[in-house]
């Protein structure tokens, strides 16, 4: 394996097998997170200004963060179940890095809720959770429990992660400074996660095209839920209706690259 200790190192220049081994390793994760997590306890620099939010904005942010916690819990439980299903040890190690990333996301969002004055986070999350997101979580965990690696990676690392990536990026553009900084760290992780999903499924479908119909089926089953989750999240963020098709485009492009439109 090539060791990523050079600032100019580009894993994309490696041969395919070496690339997979490199980017799915603990060492790669270690190098990647060092840059954006050092000196940022709970995802934020202690010096970042944290102006008080008015009541409406604060309440809206609490709802948004509660739903982020639901999404991250789904991802934590999904990723930990996927370690067992991973078809090789490199994929197991990658999934283990994703488990800790998702647990960190849950922790930083819970911490932000506490900063905003939420005392009983569990009750607040339960109260404000978008039902469509809870449906998505159940569907994802059913695929994991059924031992369906391809379908569960598709639901988790392609659908859920690209939804989160899109919503978090949109949110970070308009968020208060602390929430924006926390989101930037999370976005960096999500990029790695859906990169894995796209790469792994892309190679597996190229090797065996008979895998494609099942993924198409899963996509069709989840499309309605995904749409409701997107709508709910963008409503909470008060994103103008005119901007929403542009945001959904990223998810559609990823699905299209996998040939699953």
């Amino acid at each position: 394996m090539v060791i990523a200790d050079d600032d100019d190192f580009d894993p994309h220049l490696l041969e395919e097998d070496d690339f997979v081994e490199e980017v799915q390793s603990f060492e790669f994760w270690f190098g990647a997170v060092e840059g954006y997590l050092v000196d940022r306890p709970y995802g934020r620099s202690p010096d970042t200004p944290d102006p008080e939010l008015d009541d409406t904005r604060r309440d809206r942010l609490i709802t948004t963060l509660c739903n982020y916690c639901v999404g991250e819990t789904a991802a934590l439980e999904g990723a930990s179940g996927l370690v067992r299903l991973a078809p090789n040890h490199h994929a197991k190690v990658f999934m283990a890095t994703q488990v800790v990333d998702e647990a960190r996301h849950l922790e930083v969002f819970l911490r932000r809720l506490t900063d905003l004055g939420v005392v009983d986070t569990a009750t607040e999350i339960q109260k404000r959770a978008n039902p469509a997101l809870l449906d998505f979580k159940s569907s994802l965990l059913e695929l994991v429990d059924a031992g369906e690696w391809d379908a569960a990676v598709f639901a988790q690392n392609v659908i859920l992660e690209s939804m989160e990536f899109t919503v978090f990026r949109s949110h970070a553009e308009n968020a208060d400074p602390v929430t924006a900084e926390v989101l930037q760290g999370v976005i960096s992780d999500e990029r790695r996660h859906f990169g894995f999903g796209e790469n792994d499924l892309g190679r597996r479908m190229a090797d065996d095209p008979s895998r494609r119909p099942r993924l198409q089926e899963v996509k069709e089953q989840l499309d309605r839920i995904v749409l409701s989750v997107f709508e709910g999240a963008l409503d909470d963020l008060d994103v103008p209706v005119a901007d929403r098709p542009r945001l959904g485009q990223e998810y559609l492009e990823t699905v299209e690259r996998l040939g699953l439109t």
């Binding site: 179940g81 370690v83 800790v100 960190r104």
Partner: protein, 289 residues
């Protein structure tokens, strides 16, 4: 409980581990450290080192499967978050010990063959007993099996190997020190979290004690087979060094029987203490090994 679990947050783990004792390491050792020349140049020693390292990979693969499987069985979110860090710790251990096999000359395309040829069958059975509990979603039994029994065994084995390699193979000793630091955290979580759960569910005690008895049987059988077939690499790779002293035994001069005895005594002593702390009584295996 909440206060104790706050010590096991992701943030704390990031500060202690990746940003702490692993900082500036590559595969758990210094970037400029390599395996001892004496070891690489001696076929018998090299073979013993590969066999010993294969057992570490087998044990860590079991720990990775168990800790990731326990995330979903955990009854509260702080425990899930701790087990997430443990999942990544175990994945790292799999990676660094696999890397050591490559450093010792195992070819990548022969890795799985070497592991299945050399894996100690008793260690494989030991893993199966634990993973059966994890598969069943039994959190209390799973954590006792993983964080008290498996990690307790790993902790002592790593400490012994670290003492034996400190002088003549500093690279491997360095790798082991990082894993020992991780295992200490895992055992601490097991003791702290499970005590209260055992108190809440006393009806689980007999079943958990049976699992401990079975795992202990396979552990002792693992040691017996390992030391009868091939003495631990520590004994072969060290000269007569006072630094190789571990629990009153000089690992540089001890016979395989003496090493097996000190290891078994140490691990069993640790089990008794740790099980006592969580309200369980150590069960001796029924069949003599």
């Amino acid at each position: 409980m909440a206060d104790f679990l706050s010590q096991y947050s992701i943030q704390r783990w990031l500060e202690m581990c990746p940003q702490g004792y692993l900082e500036d390491t590559v595969y758990g050792r210094g970037a400029d450290e390599s395996e001892a020349e004496d070891l690489l140049g001696n076929e018998t020693m090299l073979d013993a080192a590969i066999t010993a390292t294969v057992q570490l990979v087998v044990g860590e693969r079991c720990a990775l499967a168990a800790s990731s499987g326990l995330v979903n069985a955990a009854p509260d979110y702080p425990s899930k978050r701790f087990l997430a860090t443990q999942t990544l710790d175990e994945a790292r251990h799999v990676e660094i010990f696999t890397q050591r096999l490559y450093d010792l000359g195992v070819k990548k395309d022969k890795l799985e063959d070497e592991i299945s040829d050399r894996a100690n069958p008793h260690l494989v059975k030991f893993a199966e007993v634990l993973l059966e509990k994890v598969e069943a979603g039994d959190f209390i039994a799973g954590v006792v099996g993983q964080n008290i029994v498996l990690e307790g065994m790993a902790f002592s084995v790593f400490e012994m190997m670290e003492a034996g390699n400190r002088q003549l193979n500093p690279k491997f000793a360095h790798t082991l020190r990082g894993t020992i630091a991780d295992e200490r955290r895992h055992v601490g979580f097991g003791e702290n979290r499970i005590g209260s759960l055992i108190q809440e569910h006393p009806e689980k005690k007999p079943e958990i004690e049976r699992m401990q008895e079975e795992m202990t049987y396979h552990m002792l059988a693992t040691f017996a087979l390992a030391f009868s077939e091939s003495p631990d690499e520590a004994i072969q790779s060290n000269g007569d060094s006072p630094e190789a002293e571990w629990h009153g035994t000089n690992l540089a001069t001890a016979t395989p029987e003496e090493m097996e005895a000190v290891l078994a005594e140490t691990v069993l002593g640790e089990f008794k203490t740790r099980l006592g702390r969580i309200g369980l009584e150590y069960q001796s295996p029924k069949s003599p090994v």
